[in-house]
Assembly symmetry: C2
Homo-oligomer: 207 residues x 2
DNA sequence: TAGATTGTTAATCGATTAACAATC
DNA sequence: TAGATTGTTAATCGATTAACAATC
């Protein structure tokens, strides 16, 4: 029975379910169960069933879940049943790796605009896109109605670029710069900082 | 008053406190408060005080926290008051970006070993390290007693490489491959998958 | 001192799990 | 049918917050 307001922690797990279902489908499997998914993802079967129950009834008692059907449903819920244009800002090493990354295809996103502040980089081609000057960022993002951005630039510029992007209509920001961003409540930010992740594990190391 | 067992969710926030303190110190600030930290990190002051209280009393009533002192304490708690050698596996685009990333310095980690399975890459220099064959991984990781690894390789090889690394003594794995890894309970894994992060936000987009 | 802010307690809030009727 | 597994409820568990005495 669909609920009014779904907890954020539930939403944050749906992409993991989607990824696991895609892996199972790729291995040729047609049906799965909350038990199998839970084992693959290291979580309880009850939690998976509870999470899914926020959105509807996707399985059959005794039978489990049709993988293709559940993938489609989750894709719609997460709004990745379309392709979102993404603006990438900063063409250093990380920006280059992100542009060349093959993993976006078929998962709901495509890099559609690339910006850099370095005049030497502006005008160069990356992937099949021309690198544009950051000066043009607000205008281009508005014109293309881009709502998603990835920041691959040094920390000291991240906040000012963010302010421009938000002003231009961006509502989801994936930030590779190792700084916390301040944004309005309507804008969401996710962070990728490998050192943060390593430090979350080093607490448990010995020697 | 130090507690016996600190919740994992508390540990996972400490690196964020450390990063914020480093930013404040870099701006020349000497003292901060749970209120200021909370505002910068988008969380409540009470939560920060509660988290810190698991490990000791680091502030003074009415005064707040000496930034240098608290940084040192958090560094020790997280065991980044030393430099951990990291083994990097896979020298594709992501591996290259990670090797060249300047952000590890001074935060507790250094890439000490690089492996790739491609004979054309083996023997090449990356940073100041020679790329070694994956065949030698178990021996080198054991010999150097490396406990931390980063996986920058295609998903289909991630689990088999993980098995070798764990067997060789690795206990922390940062996985850039978009697959869930199965590891013994004593081994910790963190994941970096930009698409997962984007999908966690697209749920909240409209249009 | 007066004001500020800590560390800690207790209350609140929310998330996870266990259990099971429903049913494929 | 018998066995399996769902969706859901209620209980449990854990995390966050509010409040405040202590004290710098």
């Amino acid at each position: 029975m669909p609920n009014f307001q779904v907890p954020d922690v539930v939403i944050s797990r749906l992409p993991l379910y989607l990824r696991a279902l895609t892996a199972l489908a790729g291995a040729g499997q047609k049906v799965t169960s909350s038990k199998e998914l839970g084992e693959r993802l290291g979580m309880s079967a009850a939690q998976i069933r509870k999470d899914l129950s926020h959105f509807g009834e996707f399985g059959k008692q005794g039978m489990g879940y049709q993988i293709t059907f559940l993938r489609t449903k989750l894709g719609k819920i997460l709004r990745v049943d379309r392709v979102w244009d993404v603006a990438l800002v900063g063409m250093g090493d990380i920006g280059h790796a992100v542009v060349r990354y093959q993993g976006f295809a078929g998962r709901g996103f495509r890099i559609a605009l690339i910006f850099d502040s370095d005049p030497k980089k502006v005008g160069q081609i990356a992937g099949d896109l021309t690198i544009l000057a950051v000066d043009r960022m607000a205008a281009e993002v508005k014109a293309r109605r881009v709502q998603v951005a990835m920041l691959c630039l040094p920390g000291q510029h991240a906040q000012s670029v963010t302010n421009i992007l938000v002003q231009a209509g961006v509502r989801s920001i994936l930030n590779y710069a190792p700084v916390n961003l301040s944004v309005p409540a309507a804008v969401r930010v996710q962070y990728i900082d490998p050192v943060i992740e390593l430090q979350r594990m080093s607490y448990y190391l010995h020697k």
